[in-house]
Protein backbone atom coordinates (compact mmCIF):
# COMPACT_ATOMS: atom_id res chain seq x y z
CA UNK A 1 0.00 0.00 0.00
CA UNK A 2 1.27 3.44 -0.90
CA UNK A 3 1.12 5.74 2.08
CA UNK A 4 3.01 9.04 1.98
CA UNK A 5 1.36 10.47 5.06
CA UNK A 6 3.72 11.10 7.96
CA UNK A 7 2.75 12.09 11.50
CA UNK A 8 5.77 14.03 12.76
CA UNK A 9 7.93 16.84 11.43
CA UNK A 10 11.00 14.70 12.13
CA UNK A 11 9.72 12.14 9.60
CA UNK A 12 8.62 14.87 7.19
CA UNK A 13 12.07 16.46 7.01
CA UNK A 14 14.25 13.40 7.57
CA UNK A 15 17.43 13.29 5.49
CA UNK A 16 17.72 16.98 4.52
CA UNK A 17 21.45 17.64 4.39
CA UNK A 18 23.60 20.72 4.86
CA UNK A 19 24.21 22.46 1.55
CA UNK A 20 20.91 21.39 0.02
CA UNK A 21 18.97 23.48 -2.47
CA UNK A 22 15.45 23.98 -1.14
CA UNK A 23 12.47 25.33 -3.07
CA UNK A 24 9.90 26.99 -0.82
CA UNK A 25 6.40 27.47 -2.22
CA UNK A 26 3.97 30.27 -1.59
CA UNK A 27 3.38 33.87 -2.58
CA UNK A 28 3.30 36.02 0.50
CA UNK A 29 1.67 33.92 3.17
CA UNK A 30 -0.69 32.21 0.72
CA UNK A 31 0.45 28.68 -0.04
CA UNK A 32 3.59 29.12 2.09
CA UNK A 33 4.39 25.99 4.13
CA UNK A 34 4.99 27.82 7.40
CA UNK A 35 5.05 24.75 9.64
CA UNK A 36 7.62 23.00 7.44
CA UNK A 37 9.80 26.12 7.47
CA UNK A 38 9.63 26.26 11.27
CA UNK A 39 10.53 22.58 11.48
CA UNK A 40 13.41 23.07 9.04
CA UNK A 41 14.83 25.73 11.36
CA UNK A 42 14.60 23.24 14.25
CA UNK A 43 16.70 20.69 12.34
CA UNK A 44 19.66 23.09 12.51
CA UNK A 45 20.54 22.43 8.87
CA UNK A 46 23.18 24.78 7.44
CA UNK A 47 24.47 26.25 4.21
CA UNK A 48 21.19 26.00 2.31
CA UNK A 49 20.43 27.60 -1.02
CA UNK A 50 16.77 28.54 -0.95
CA UNK A 51 14.61 29.60 -3.91
CA UNK A 52 11.30 31.36 -3.47
CA UNK A 53 9.61 34.57 -4.56
CA UNK A 54 10.30 36.81 -1.56
CA UNK A 55 12.98 37.01 1.09
CA UNK A 56 10.80 36.79 4.17
CA UNK A 57 9.33 39.51 6.34
CA UNK A 58 9.69 40.32 10.01
CA UNK A 59 11.56 37.72 12.03
CA UNK A 60 9.42 34.64 11.39
CA UNK A 61 9.37 31.90 8.78
CA UNK A 62 11.90 32.33 5.98
CA UNK A 63 13.31 35.41 7.73
CA UNK A 64 13.97 33.32 10.84
CA UNK A 65 15.53 30.57 8.72
CA UNK A 66 18.02 33.14 7.41
CA UNK A 67 18.42 34.82 10.80
CA UNK A 68 19.41 31.46 12.32
CA UNK A 69 22.24 31.12 9.83
CA UNK A 70 20.73 28.22 7.88
CA UNK A 71 20.94 29.95 4.50
CA UNK A 72 24.01 30.67 2.38
CA UNK A 73 22.24 31.88 -0.75
CA UNK A 74 18.77 33.02 -1.74
CA UNK A 75 17.34 32.96 -5.25
CA UNK A 76 14.26 35.18 -5.49
CA UNK A 77 12.51 37.84 -7.56
CA UNK A 78 11.49 40.34 -4.92
CA UNK A 79 13.58 40.58 -1.74
CA UNK A 80 11.94 43.88 -0.80
CA UNK A 81 8.66 42.59 0.53
CA UNK A 82 7.11 44.14 3.63
CA UNK A 83 9.57 44.46 6.52
CA UNK A 84 12.55 42.58 5.00
CA UNK A 85 14.71 43.45 8.01
CA UNK A 86 16.59 40.15 8.29
CA UNK A 87 17.34 39.89 4.59
CA UNK A 88 18.59 43.48 4.37
CA UNK A 89 20.85 43.10 7.39
CA UNK A 90 22.44 39.82 6.27
CA UNK A 91 22.80 41.01 2.68
CA UNK A 92 24.42 44.29 3.74
CA UNK A 93 26.82 42.43 6.01
CA UNK A 94 27.78 40.11 3.15
CA UNK A 95 26.48 37.05 4.99
CA UNK A 96 23.93 36.14 2.34
CA UNK A 97 24.37 35.67 -1.37
CA UNK A 98 21.53 36.98 -3.53
CA UNK A 99 20.53 35.88 -7.03
CA UNK A 100 17.77 38.07 -8.44
CA UNK A 101 15.65 36.32 -11.04
CA UNK A 102 12.56 37.78 -12.73
CA UNK A 103 9.46 36.15 -11.28
CA UNK A 104 8.38 34.41 -14.46
CA UNK A 105 11.92 33.27 -15.21
CA UNK A 106 12.13 31.85 -11.68
CA UNK A 107 8.92 29.87 -12.27
CA UNK A 108 10.07 28.70 -15.70
CA UNK A 109 13.54 27.68 -14.46
CA UNK A 110 11.82 25.46 -11.92
CA UNK A 111 9.32 24.18 -14.48
CA UNK A 112 12.19 23.38 -16.84
CA UNK A 113 13.93 21.36 -14.13
CA UNK A 114 10.69 19.47 -13.53
CA UNK A 115 10.28 18.78 -17.23
CA UNK A 116 13.85 17.67 -17.97
CA UNK A 117 14.73 20.81 -19.93
CA UNK A 118 18.26 21.95 -19.00
CA UNK A 119 17.92 25.54 -20.24
CA UNK A 120 15.69 27.79 -22.33
CA UNK A 121 15.77 31.10 -24.17
CA UNK A 122 13.53 33.93 -22.96
CA UNK A 123 13.08 37.58 -23.91
CA UNK A 124 12.59 38.48 -20.26
CA UNK A 125 15.58 40.46 -19.06
CA UNK A 126 17.29 40.64 -22.47
CA UNK A 127 19.40 43.79 -22.68
CA UNK A 128 19.15 44.48 -18.94
CA UNK A 129 21.56 44.09 -16.00
CA UNK A 130 20.09 40.64 -15.38
CA UNK A 131 21.37 39.46 -18.77
CA UNK A 132 24.99 39.89 -17.69
CA UNK A 133 27.04 36.76 -18.12
CA UNK A 134 24.24 34.98 -19.93
CA UNK A 135 24.37 33.70 -23.47
CA UNK A 136 22.11 35.67 -25.81
CA UNK A 137 20.81 34.86 -29.25
CA UNK A 138 18.75 36.57 -31.93
CA UNK A 139 15.79 34.41 -32.92
CA UNK A 140 13.39 35.71 -35.59
CA UNK A 141 14.79 39.20 -35.12
CA UNK A 142 14.38 39.37 -31.34
CA UNK A 143 16.99 39.03 -28.62
CA UNK A 144 16.65 36.22 -26.09
CA UNK A 145 18.83 35.15 -23.18
CA UNK A 146 19.63 31.66 -21.97
CA UNK A 147 18.34 30.74 -18.53
CA UNK A 148 19.17 27.45 -16.85
CA UNK A 149 16.92 24.99 -15.07
CA UNK A 150 16.75 25.26 -11.29
CA UNK A 151 16.89 21.75 -9.89
CA UNK A 152 16.51 21.19 -6.21
CA UNK A 153 17.14 18.59 -3.56
CA UNK A 154 14.05 19.50 -1.60
CA UNK A 155 10.71 21.23 -2.24
CA UNK A 156 8.53 22.36 0.65
CA UNK A 157 5.00 23.11 -0.51
CA UNK A 158 1.57 23.80 0.90
CA UNK A 159 -1.78 22.55 -0.39
CA UNK A 160 -5.39 22.47 0.77
CA UNK A 161 -6.05 18.72 0.57
CA UNK A 162 -4.08 15.53 0.04
CA UNK A 163 -4.68 11.77 -0.03
CA UNK A 164 -2.28 9.00 0.96
CA UNK A 165 -0.89 8.79 -2.59
CA UNK A 166 0.29 12.38 -2.21
CA UNK A 167 -2.20 13.85 -4.68
CA UNK A 168 -2.57 17.55 -3.87
CA UNK A 169 -5.47 19.94 -4.36
CA UNK A 170 -4.81 23.68 -4.06
CA UNK A 171 -7.18 26.38 -2.95
CA UNK A 172 -7.74 29.89 -4.31
CA UNK A 173 -4.52 31.64 -5.33
CA UNK A 174 -2.64 29.14 -3.15
CA UNK A 175 -1.23 27.16 -6.07
CA UNK A 176 1.24 29.84 -7.18
CA UNK A 177 4.76 28.29 -7.13
CA UNK A 178 3.68 25.09 -5.39
CA UNK A 179 2.77 22.72 -8.26
CA UNK A 180 5.89 23.71 -10.22
CA UNK A 181 8.19 23.33 -7.23
CA UNK A 182 6.61 20.04 -6.16
CA UNK A 183 7.64 18.57 -9.51
CA UNK A 184 11.22 19.87 -9.52
CA UNK A 185 12.83 18.36 -6.43
CA UNK A 186 14.26 15.00 -5.44
CA UNK A 187 12.35 15.14 -2.14
CA UNK A 188 8.99 16.90 -2.07
CA UNK A 189 7.23 17.43 1.25
CA UNK A 190 3.71 18.84 1.39
CA UNK A 191 2.03 20.54 4.32
CA UNK A 192 -1.75 20.26 3.88
CA UNK A 193 -4.83 21.47 5.68
CA UNK A 194 -6.87 18.33 5.14
CA UNK A 195 -6.14 14.68 4.48
CA UNK A 196 -8.93 12.84 2.70
CA UNK A 197 -9.57 9.21 1.75
CA UNK A 198 -8.05 7.89 -1.47
CA UNK A 199 -10.69 8.39 -4.16
CA UNK A 200 -12.24 11.45 -2.54
CA UNK A 201 -10.25 13.92 -4.64
CA UNK A 202 -11.83 14.41 -8.07
CA UNK A 203 -9.14 13.65 -10.67
CA UNK A 204 -9.81 16.96 -12.44
CA UNK A 205 -9.16 18.86 -9.22
CA UNK A 206 -5.74 17.35 -8.51
CA UNK A 207 -3.17 20.13 -9.05
CA UNK A 208 -0.14 17.97 -8.25
CA UNK A 209 -0.30 14.23 -8.93
CA UNK A 210 1.14 12.18 -6.09
CA UNK A 211 3.95 10.90 -8.30
CA UNK A 212 5.77 14.16 -7.54
CA UNK A 213 5.21 14.03 -3.79
CA UNK A 214 7.20 12.00 -1.25
CA UNK A 215 5.72 12.99 2.09
CA UNK A 216 2.53 14.63 3.31
CA UNK A 217 1.89 16.06 6.74
CA UNK A 218 -1.37 17.52 8.01
CA UNK A 219 -1.08 20.92 9.68
CA UNK A 220 -3.94 22.98 10.99
CA UNK A 221 -3.37 26.56 9.91
CA UNK A 222 -6.08 27.96 12.17
CA UNK A 223 -9.72 28.95 11.75
CA UNK A 224 -9.24 31.99 9.52
CA UNK A 225 -7.54 29.76 6.91
CA UNK A 226 -9.95 26.84 7.17
CA UNK A 227 -13.29 28.51 6.45
CA UNK A 228 -15.11 26.78 3.62
CA UNK A 229 -14.70 28.38 0.23
CA UNK A 230 -17.44 30.94 -0.47
Amino acid sequence: MINKIVRTMAEALDGIKDGSTVLIGGFGSVGQPDALIEALIETGVKDLTIALNNAGSGRVGVAKLMDNGCVRKIICSFPRSSDPVVFETLYREGKLELEITPQGTLAERIRAAAAGIPAFFTATGAGTLLARGKESRMIDGREYILETALKADVALVEAWQADRWGNLVYRGSGANFNPTMAAAATLTVAQVQHIVELGDLHPHMVGTPGVYVNRVIQVDRGPEWTKEEA
Binding site: F78, E88, L98, A107, A175, A230
Partner: protein, 214 residues
Protein backbone atom coordinates in the same frame (compact mmCIF):
# COMPACT_ATOMS: atom_id res chain seq x y z
CA UNK B 1 -2.79 74.68 -14.49
CA UNK B 2 -4.12 71.77 -12.45
CA UNK B 3 -2.22 68.48 -12.66
CA UNK B 4 -4.23 65.28 -12.81
CA UNK B 5 -4.68 63.44 -9.50
CA UNK B 6 -3.73 59.77 -9.08
CA UNK B 7 -7.35 58.77 -9.56
CA UNK B 8 -7.71 60.97 -12.63
CA UNK B 9 -4.60 59.38 -14.17
CA UNK B 10 -6.03 55.94 -13.46
CA UNK B 11 -9.43 56.98 -14.80
CA UNK B 12 -7.93 58.24 -18.07
CA UNK B 13 -6.11 54.95 -18.60
CA UNK B 14 -9.26 52.99 -17.73
CA UNK B 15 -11.23 54.97 -20.33
CA UNK B 16 -8.86 53.70 -23.02
CA UNK B 17 -9.28 49.98 -22.20
CA UNK B 18 -11.83 48.36 -24.51
CA UNK B 19 -14.15 45.53 -23.61
CA UNK B 20 -12.61 42.09 -23.92
CA UNK B 21 -9.02 42.88 -23.09
CA UNK B 22 -7.07 40.79 -20.58
CA UNK B 23 -5.16 43.31 -18.43
CA UNK B 24 -2.42 43.01 -15.82
CA UNK B 25 -2.12 45.92 -13.41
CA UNK B 26 1.09 46.69 -11.52
CA UNK B 27 1.35 47.79 -7.92
CA UNK B 28 0.57 51.42 -6.97
CA UNK B 29 -1.44 53.81 -9.18
CA UNK B 30 -1.94 51.08 -11.86
CA UNK B 31 -3.97 49.07 -9.33
CA UNK B 32 -6.45 51.97 -9.18
CA UNK B 33 -7.26 51.53 -12.89
CA UNK B 34 -9.59 48.62 -12.13
CA UNK B 35 -11.79 50.92 -10.00
CA UNK B 36 -12.45 53.11 -13.02
CA UNK B 37 -13.54 50.50 -15.55
CA UNK B 38 -17.35 50.51 -15.48
CA UNK B 39 -18.92 47.19 -14.52
CA UNK B 40 -20.88 47.27 -17.79
CA UNK B 41 -17.60 46.84 -19.73
CA UNK B 42 -16.16 43.33 -19.39
CA UNK B 43 -12.40 43.53 -18.91
CA UNK B 44 -10.52 40.53 -17.50
CA UNK B 45 -7.94 41.43 -14.87
CA UNK B 46 -5.04 39.01 -14.54
CA UNK B 47 -2.72 38.94 -11.56
CA UNK B 48 0.64 37.26 -12.06
CA UNK B 49 0.26 35.06 -8.99
CA UNK B 50 -2.21 33.06 -11.06
CA UNK B 51 -5.58 34.82 -10.84
CA UNK B 52 -7.55 35.43 -14.04
CA UNK B 53 -10.76 37.37 -13.43
CA UNK B 54 -9.86 39.41 -10.37
CA UNK B 55 -12.61 41.56 -8.81
CA UNK B 56 -12.55 44.41 -6.29
CA UNK B 57 -11.41 44.18 -2.68
CA UNK B 58 -13.71 42.07 -0.48
CA UNK B 59 -16.25 43.59 1.90
CA UNK B 60 -15.31 43.28 5.56
CA UNK B 61 -16.20 39.86 6.92
CA UNK B 62 -16.23 38.17 3.48
CA UNK B 63 -12.45 37.93 3.01
CA UNK B 64 -10.94 34.65 1.84
CA UNK B 65 -7.29 34.66 2.94
CA UNK B 66 -6.40 32.30 0.07
CA UNK B 67 -7.27 34.91 -2.56
CA UNK B 68 -4.71 37.67 -3.02
CA UNK B 69 -3.28 39.69 -5.91
CA UNK B 70 0.34 40.32 -6.88
CA UNK B 71 0.45 43.18 -4.36
CA UNK B 72 -0.54 40.64 -1.66
CA UNK B 73 -3.87 42.43 -1.14
CA UNK B 74 -7.04 40.42 -0.53
CA UNK B 75 -9.26 40.23 -3.61
CA UNK B 76 -12.57 38.88 -4.82
CA UNK B 77 -13.20 36.96 -8.00
CA UNK B 78 -15.65 37.79 -10.77
CA UNK B 79 -17.92 35.24 -12.45
CA UNK B 80 -15.83 33.38 -15.00
CA UNK B 81 -12.62 33.62 -12.97
CA UNK B 82 -9.94 30.91 -12.95
CA UNK B 83 -6.70 30.05 -11.17
CA UNK B 84 -3.38 28.76 -12.49
CA UNK B 85 0.05 28.32 -10.92
CA UNK B 86 2.98 30.66 -11.45
CA UNK B 87 4.52 28.76 -14.36
CA UNK B 88 1.27 28.89 -16.33
CA UNK B 89 0.56 32.47 -15.30
CA UNK B 90 3.91 33.62 -16.65
CA UNK B 91 3.55 31.47 -19.74
CA UNK B 92 0.37 33.49 -20.32
CA UNK B 93 2.38 36.70 -19.85
CA UNK B 94 5.52 35.69 -21.75
CA UNK B 95 3.50 34.06 -24.51
CA UNK B 96 1.78 37.30 -25.49
CA UNK B 97 -1.71 36.51 -24.19
CA UNK B 98 -2.01 39.65 -22.05
CA UNK B 99 -3.47 42.51 -24.11
CA UNK B 100 -2.21 45.21 -21.80
CA UNK B 101 0.02 45.67 -18.81
CA UNK B 102 -0.04 48.91 -16.82
CA UNK B 103 3.02 49.60 -14.68
CA UNK B 104 4.52 52.41 -12.67
CA UNK B 105 7.86 53.80 -13.80
CA UNK B 106 11.00 55.63 -12.72
CA UNK B 107 11.91 56.63 -16.28
CA UNK B 108 10.70 56.10 -19.85
CA UNK B 109 12.88 56.83 -22.89
CA UNK B 110 11.62 58.12 -26.22
CA UNK B 111 12.31 54.74 -27.83
CA UNK B 112 10.03 53.02 -25.28
CA UNK B 113 12.73 51.76 -22.91
CA UNK B 114 11.42 51.43 -19.35
CA UNK B 115 13.31 51.69 -16.06
CA UNK B 116 11.23 50.84 -13.02
CA UNK B 117 13.05 48.30 -10.83
CA UNK B 118 16.40 49.59 -9.63
CA UNK B 119 17.89 53.00 -9.01
CA UNK B 120 21.46 52.13 -9.80
CA UNK B 121 23.96 49.39 -10.37
CA UNK B 122 24.84 49.47 -6.69
CA UNK B 123 21.23 49.38 -5.54
CA UNK B 124 21.12 47.41 -2.31
CA UNK B 125 19.05 44.37 -3.11
CA UNK B 126 17.14 45.37 -6.25
CA UNK B 127 13.71 43.80 -6.47
CA UNK B 128 12.41 43.02 -9.95
CA UNK B 129 9.35 40.87 -9.26
CA UNK B 130 7.39 40.24 -12.46
CA UNK B 131 8.13 43.58 -14.14
CA UNK B 132 10.68 42.28 -16.67
CA UNK B 133 8.43 39.38 -17.65
CA UNK B 134 5.49 41.75 -18.18
CA UNK B 135 7.61 44.27 -20.08
CA UNK B 136 8.87 41.55 -22.42
CA UNK B 137 5.62 39.65 -22.82
CA UNK B 138 2.54 41.88 -22.74
CA UNK B 139 1.16 42.97 -26.12
CA UNK B 140 1.06 46.59 -24.92
CA UNK B 141 2.69 48.32 -21.99
CA UNK B 142 1.31 51.55 -20.57
CA UNK B 143 3.06 53.42 -17.79
CA UNK B 144 1.32 55.63 -15.22
CA UNK B 145 3.68 57.93 -13.36
CA UNK B 146 4.27 61.55 -12.41
CA UNK B 147 5.78 63.60 -15.22
CA UNK B 148 8.75 64.60 -13.07
CA UNK B 149 10.38 63.44 -9.86
CA UNK B 150 9.43 65.10 -6.57
CA UNK B 151 12.38 67.48 -6.99
CA UNK B 152 11.30 68.37 -10.54
CA UNK B 153 13.61 66.24 -12.71
CA UNK B 154 12.02 64.93 -15.92
CA UNK B 155 11.13 61.22 -16.01
CA UNK B 156 10.58 61.20 -19.78
CA UNK B 157 14.04 61.15 -21.30
CA UNK B 158 15.99 60.60 -24.51
CA UNK B 159 17.69 57.68 -22.78
CA UNK B 160 17.08 56.06 -19.39
CA UNK B 161 19.72 56.55 -16.70
CA UNK B 162 18.50 53.87 -14.29
CA UNK B 163 18.90 50.16 -15.13
CA UNK B 164 16.34 49.02 -17.70
CA UNK B 165 13.36 46.79 -17.04
CA UNK B 166 12.63 46.27 -20.71
CA UNK B 167 13.74 47.61 -24.07
CA UNK B 168 11.39 49.42 -26.48
CA UNK B 169 8.36 48.12 -24.62
CA UNK B 170 6.33 51.16 -23.50
CA UNK B 171 3.59 52.24 -25.90
CA UNK B 172 1.81 54.94 -23.87
CA UNK B 173 2.43 57.05 -20.75
CA UNK B 174 -0.22 58.63 -18.53
CA UNK B 175 1.37 61.32 -16.39
CA UNK B 176 -0.10 63.92 -14.05
CA UNK B 177 0.43 66.42 -16.89
CA UNK B 178 -0.31 64.60 -20.14
CA UNK B 179 -1.03 61.45 -22.08
CA UNK B 180 1.81 60.60 -24.42
CA UNK B 181 2.19 57.86 -27.00
CA UNK B 182 5.55 56.30 -27.76
CA UNK B 183 5.62 56.01 -31.55
CA UNK B 184 8.20 53.82 -33.24
CA UNK B 185 10.68 55.91 -35.22
CA UNK B 186 9.24 59.19 -33.93
CA UNK B 187 9.32 59.24 -30.13
CA UNK B 188 6.96 60.98 -27.70
CA UNK B 189 3.67 62.13 -29.26
CA UNK B 190 1.38 64.17 -26.99
CA UNK B 191 -2.25 63.02 -27.10
CA UNK B 192 -3.58 65.54 -24.59
CA UNK B 193 -2.53 67.67 -21.66
CA UNK B 194 -3.79 68.82 -18.26
CA UNK B 195 -6.17 71.80 -18.51
CA UNK B 196 -4.34 75.12 -18.67
CA UNK B 197 -0.96 73.59 -19.57
CA UNK B 198 0.77 74.76 -22.75
CA UNK B 199 2.78 72.53 -25.04
CA UNK B 200 5.91 74.60 -24.34
CA UNK B 201 5.43 74.23 -20.58
CA UNK B 202 5.10 70.46 -21.00
CA UNK B 203 8.20 70.38 -23.21
CA UNK B 204 10.14 72.26 -20.51
CA UNK B 205 9.38 69.45 -18.06
CA UNK B 206 10.42 66.74 -20.52
CA UNK B 207 14.01 65.76 -21.35
CA UNK B 208 13.26 64.59 -24.89
CA UNK B 209 11.56 66.14 -27.89
CA UNK B 210 7.76 66.11 -27.77
CA UNK B 211 5.70 65.89 -30.95
CA UNK B 212 2.21 67.28 -31.47
CA UNK B 213 -0.36 64.65 -32.32
CA UNK B 214 -1.82 66.72 -35.17
Amino acid sequence: MTPFTRDQMAHRAADDIPEGWCVNLGIGIPTLVANHVPSTREVVFQSENGVIGMGPAPAKGTEDLWNINAGKQLITLVKGASFVGHADSFAMIRGGHIDLCVLGGFEVAENGDLANWATGENDTAPAVGGAMDLAAGAKRLWVIMDHTTKDGRPKLLEKCVYPLTGLKCVTRIYTNLATIDVVDGKGFVVRDMAPGLSFDELQAKTAAKLHQAH
